[in-house]
């Protein structure tokens, strides 16, 4: 069965000593041939998940399946998984060729075969002709490619990448983002990519798992997660957000900032207290009388592509706006936004509850239309 999940976690918990668990009851599935990103702040358990998949550590409880087989008792060296480590972990006593050949030599392949596979892998990462270089003679970006070549030469079913781009400068990082994405598509294997950089995650992934405190907060495609963050943490972590307290009057009608607005969300209890997310780039600057909300400009920062403007409304609530228009500090301006720009979040809602509500609400919507 080829459409079976390649990796499956079932209620996996990892705990060190008496510390609070690093991963708490994590369950997920990953499909074959897709690009997954684990996104979350430092210390949230991203590396721990990778090490559990690789077999470098064992779960405290729960089950891990690779390719449908329970692998809890399978050691790292017996798993069809390879890792690109955060610090690359290249062997300093071996040159580039021997680093890449390491896994093949363990498997005792024939000399000629090793030579050919290593050359192919190095060509894949654009490092032809670097075979005899020492590791210390390679730049950061080149080392990273060697680490990738060393992993993919073993033809793993899953490639794990632990923040492989974090040590590179911005330009090289953007370049490598394209290259990695392309590499994944050429190889057609599953990538599990770890990062704390939300832009990177949005740019590269088929699917993102947002993690915090050892729990998966939300999973979905980049646009899903960006457009429909399920809670304050995700909204804050994925891009900048204006998060406001509000009240859901009824379906499609929400109250915040002292006014009522039509929106596209539903499925809440009448008068339920909610949180509202409006992305800074969804706010449009208008003359005060034309805006849905009136604010006073407090400060303005030039961010290169756009201005980041900080305003306050009459209630003293802060509004962040991203715009290419320039305004003057102290100006009174209006803010306009479409009903679609309002994202309503139920407070303390888990991912399952969110999915269930969305489903129920959609079914209801379809029933109403029909």
């Amino acid at each position: 069965m080829s459409n079976q999940a390649i990796i499956r976690f079932e209620k996996v918990t990892k705990q060190y000593d008496e510390d609070p668990p690093v991963l708490n009851d994590v369950s997920f599935e990953m499909e074959r041939g897709r690009f997954y990103t684990l996104l979350g702040p430092s210390g949230c358990g991203k590396t721990t998940i990778l090490r559990l998949i690789a077999g470098l550590i064992e779960p405290t409880s729960g089950k891990i399946y690779i390719d449908g087989k329970l692998v809890n008792d399978v050691p790292a060296n017996k798993r069809q998984v390879n890792t690109v480590f955060q610090d690359y972990a290249l062997f300093p006593h071996l040159n580039v060729f021997e680093n890449v050949a390491f896994g093949l030599r363990i498997k005792k392949l024939k000399k000629e075969e090793i030579k050919q596979k290593v050359r192919e892998a190095l060509r894949f990462v654009n490092l032809e002709g670097y075979e005899n270089r020492e590791i210390k003679e390679m730049s950061g970006g080149q080392r990273q490619r060697v680490a990738i070549a060393r992993a993919i030469v073993n033809e793993p079913e899953v490639l794990l990448l632990d923040e492989p781009l974090s040590a590179l400068d911005l330009k090289l990082r953007t370049e490598m983002q394209y290259e990695l994405r392309e590499l994944q598509q050429r190889l057609g294997i599953t990538f599990v990519f770890v990062t704390h950089d939300q832009e990177e995650a949005l740019a590269m992934s088929d699917e993102i798992f947002v993690l915090n405190n050892g729990v998966i907060q939300q999973r979905g495609t980049p646009t899903d997660i960006y457009d429909e963050p399920i809670n304050r943490f995700v909204a804050n972590f994925i891009g900048e957000s204006n998060i406001l307290k509000g009240r859901m009057i009824q379906d499609y009608l929400v109250e915040f900032a002292g006014k009522q607005f039509t929106c596209v969300d539903g499925g809440f209890n009448p008068n339920e207290t909610v949180e509202i997310v409006i992305r800074p780039e969804d706010l449009e600057i208008t003359p005060p009388e034309k805006g849905k909300i009136q604010v006073k400009v407090d400060s303005q920062l030039f961010r290169g592509v756009h201005y980041e403007i900080c305003c306050y409304d009459q209630q003293g609530t802060e509004w962040i706006i991203h715009t290419t228009k320039k305004v003057n500090v102290g100006d009174d301006i209006g803010l306009y936004f479409e009903p679609e720009a309002i994202h309503v979040m139920r407070i303390g809602e888990t991912e399952e509850e969110f999915d269930a509500r969305l489903e129920a609400y959609h079914e209801q919507g379809v029933a109403n239309e029909g």
Partner: protein, 267 residues
Amino acid sequence: MKVRGRNIFLIPYMLWIIIFVISPILLVVYYSFLDLDGNFTLSNYQTFFTPVYLKMTLNSFWYAFLITAFSLLIAYPTAYLLTKTKYKQLWLLLIILPSWINLLLKAYAFLGIFGTYGFANAMLEVFGIGKKQILFTDFSFIFVSVYIFIPFMILPIFNAIDKLNPSLIDASRDLGSSAWMTFRRVVFPLTIDGVKSGCQVVFIPALSLFMLTRLIAGNRVITLGTAVEQHFLVTQNWGMGATIAVFLIIIMVLIMFLTGNRKRGVL
């Protein structure tokens, strides 16, 4: 200005080297060309290449080799386990501690332990094996020497293993190596410099051991060190003693050169 300032600080060091290192070596070389009556001669060097001394040289090498090998065999796993313990620096200190005690004191302690009425023989009795001659054997000589040298072997190996980036071991496992393969292909090659330093600091002094050869080995083991001592203190043939010393110095320099550490960047 800067360079001149640094030169001033070098003066005490230079003086030390000249008085305590260079001039003694020159003196040794000078004495090696004198016969018993103080006349210039090359006969000491001819004597050194006679079977008696060559055999003694071989003997010294053989015992130094055994001592180094056993030290390494015990020190490597010990150092490895030490790096895995929780209070590794404390454990290391405890292991290093005995090396601060005078060598003679330790030798005399072993005289007691290995003697006919000592602890070792008492234990042999208990196990029904009966008393054995332990003192004045090759076994006791090597045992005590290894005991004395082992801290010097553990220290550099411990440092090398401790410096090893643990993610290299993860990487090796990830690429399919068993624990043994990881040791052979990653851990050992990356700690070889520590092993070399350890072998140096054990092999070289072991080559010229002399007190232990008499106390523990009862002069059954004659090394170059013993010969030097005998020539200076007993036969008063300073010329021959100095000649052997010259060869010891040459051998030491050669060993240092051969096991010299090529510095490798450890990522």
